[in-house]
């Protein structure tokens, strides 16, 4: 760390002025000039202890953004502030190894360092040439400006460090309050001075962009069905990612959507989940139980439902219409193999072992399910249904189709039928469904 003795500098300057033949009255005010974002500022030299150049500061966690950390100044630990961040002006990307320009201030026996872009020189002026601040001349909060002064064809904004320091103290004591005050002050100033780079509340716009990207990358459409979940997820996401909220690629979108998926989506059901679903189903003495399962994927839901229904309604004939637009998935669903550990769980009574040792569902279970390659947006030929099981399907249709499909649900549901959709999906209020919940599952019935 190199140090320039300020006294030395001041002396040089005095000598210079003395050398001038013109009778110039002695400057009664001296200030150290520096630049922030190519604008000239100055601080009363009385407050400045020294000038330094320093590199790595020790970062202190949980402080305000303009507190860069602390620094060891010849044995004394002093806090370092970045004046640029403090004033909310554009900060050039901090180079870890570059030495920053520091102004070491001493106020009330408290030392602290201020990082600035460039330190210029000591300038002497007449006190009476210092003009009171006009908001237009500065693009930082007027509260911190004690005046404006012109020297050598350059205009300097004289900062009131006492005020800054005082505010900093407050901020440190009650972090958020001070910062908020600071922010609102700056915002007020921003209204007057549009040159200051704005930081408006972009969350609505951000959310809109995220929704668009979700639609593009994952075909997930943000509508009334998932709005509640989406808002909550957005605020979680924002906290996680800070300013970098936008979904730049498919992986980002995947990460965003990860908590959306209902439990046991595309998986075999646990015993508990099967029991929850069983409890959800109404009493039904009909001879035939008809189920509509759009978006069945590889068939885990359909088969699990078949088992649950057979158990709950042992005398009835179960027919499940399982649809998907993924041809490969739904074609393979007819020949699904049950892994050994699943086959010995609650699925046991419904599976049988094939000659090659693998497990598959018994024929009477398979006979219950009609796997169809079908786009639920097109009209269907289903009979009236007792149960609609459409998990995480609606959100992947465009808005108009979502409404059409929900209308189809209503049309095809018998009087005492229920609809179960994704755990993070909800039926829009406009459809007047009655809602009943069991844990994380919601059953919707017609009103």
């Amino acid at each position: 760390m190199e140090t320039r003795n300020i006294v030395q500098v001041a002396e040089d300057l005095l000598r210079e002025t003395e050398e001038k033949k013109e009778a110039i009255s002695a400057f009664d005010f001296k200030m150290v000039t520096f630049s922030l974002c190519d604008k000239d500022y100055a601080i009363d030299i009385m407050h400045i202890k020294e000038i330094a150049k320093a590199g790595k500061f020790t970062y202190v966690p949980n402080t305000l953004p303009f507190v860069l950390g602390v620094y060891n100044l010849r044995g004394e630990i002093i806090p370092i502030l970045d004046l640029r961040i403090f004033f909310n002006i554009d900060v050039p990307k901090r180079d870890e190894n570059k030495l920053e320009n520091l102004l070491i201030l001493n106020i009330d026996d408290q030392k602290f360092g201020l990082v600035v872009d460039k330190i210029d020189k000591v300038v002497g002026v007449h006190k009476n040439s210092i003009q009171p601040p006009h908001p237009l001349f500065a693009d930082i909060n007027i509260k911190y400006i004690s005046g404006i002064v012109e020297n050598n064809n350059r205009l300097y904004v004289l900062l009131d460090v006492i005020r800054i320091f005082a505010l900093r103290e407050d901020s440190e004591k009650s972090a958020s309050k001070g910062y908020v005050d600071n922010q609102t002050e700056i915002q007020k100033a921003e209204k007057i001075m549009p040159t200051l780079p704005k930081k408006p509340d972009t969350s609505d716009l951000d959310l809109k962009f995220i929704a668009e990207n979700l639609a593009e990358f994952k075909n997930f459409h943000a509508t009334d069905v998932n709005r509640t979940w989406l808002k909550q997820r957005y605020s979680e996401w924002k906290e996680e990612r800070g300013d970098d909220v936008q979904l730049k690629n498919s992986n980002d979108a995947d990460a965003f959507l990860k908590p959306f998926w209902s439990k046991h989506n595309e998986k075999w059901w646990s015993k508990e989940f099967a029991q929850t679903v069983t409890k959800l189903l109404p009493e039904n003495s009909a001879k035939q139980i008809v189920v509509w399962n759009p978006g069945c994927g590889q068939g885990f839901e359909a088969y699990s439902l078949a088992c649950v229904l057979k158990q709950k309604y042992p005398t009835a004939k179960v027919r499940i219409y399982a649809h998907d637009i993924d041809l490969l998935a739904v074609s393979n669903a007819t020949m699904i193999n049950v892994p050994k550990d699943i086959a010995s769980d609650w699925y046991a009574p419904f599976v049988t072992q094939k000659t090659n040792g693998e497990y598959t569902f018994k024929q009477d279970i398979k006979d219950c399910i009609m796997f169809e390659y079908h786009d639920c947006k097109n009209s269907n030929t289903l009979p009236m249904v007792d149960l609609v099981f459409a998990r995480d399907t609606l959100s992947f249709l465009d808005e108009a189709s979502q409404k059409n499909v929900i209308s189809d649900f209503i049309e095809k549901m018998k009087g005492n039928a229920i609809a179960i959709i994704g755990e993070n999906e909800a039926m829009p209020v406009s459809f007047n469904f009655r809602e009943q919940n069991y844990g994380t599952l919601y059953a919707y019935s017609k009103d």
Binding site: I325, L327, V330, S331, A333, T334, M370, F371, E372, Y373, H374, D375, N378, S379, N380, T381, P383
Partner: protein, 158 residues
């Protein structure tokens, strides 16, 4: 469309078309689903299905493609889309649909087909089953003579 039907439909369409074209290459395009009412490319051969399932199979192609295929099938160059050419395309539709019916019969689905009907015209549209739009499975087949789109629209007798 019940997934069990799909493979028989697609496999039969490709093999028969290949056979009648004298072993020419037939490539299968991506399968799709459409609501039934579809505009026709110029020539449409329609075969009805009745029984455990009801519906129809539609063979769709341009007049140009139809003429070329008919020529190959007859072993002679047909100058215009006359009765012989029409009969040829109808027969093609019949062959494919009949073998589909046979295959599905072996799988346990019993139904029959009707004699084919041929439509020729520009800007035609074949409308849906009894007013209701029953979804159709689209199987595009690409040959050196052009594209033949086979449109299966069936539903089970509930």
């Amino acid at each position: 469309m019940n997934v069990v039907y799909i493979n028989p439909f697609v496999a039969t369409s490709i093999s028969i078309l290949q056979e009648v074209l004298g072993g020419a290459e037939v490539k299968r395009g991506d399968l799709g689903l459409k609501p039934t009412a579809v505009p026709i490319m110029g020539v449409a051969a329609l075969v009805g299905l009745a029984g455990d399932v009801e519906g129809r199979v539609l063979f769709d192609m341009t007049i140009d493609t139809a003429l070329k295929i008919a020529s190959v099938m007859n072993g002679e160059d047909l100058p215009e889309f006359d009765d012989l050419a029409k009969a040829t395309i109808s027969e093609l539709a019949n062959l494919i649909t009949a073998q589909v019916v046979t295959k599905l019969h072996e799988l346990g689905f019993h139904f029959d087909l009707t004699p084919p009907a041929l439509f020729v015209g520009q800007k035609m549209e074949v409308a849906a089953l009894d007013g209701e739009n029953v979804e159709a499975l689209i199987v595009p087949l690409l040959t050196e003579y052009g594209k033949v789109e086979i449109n299966f629209s069936i539903r089970e007798r509930v």
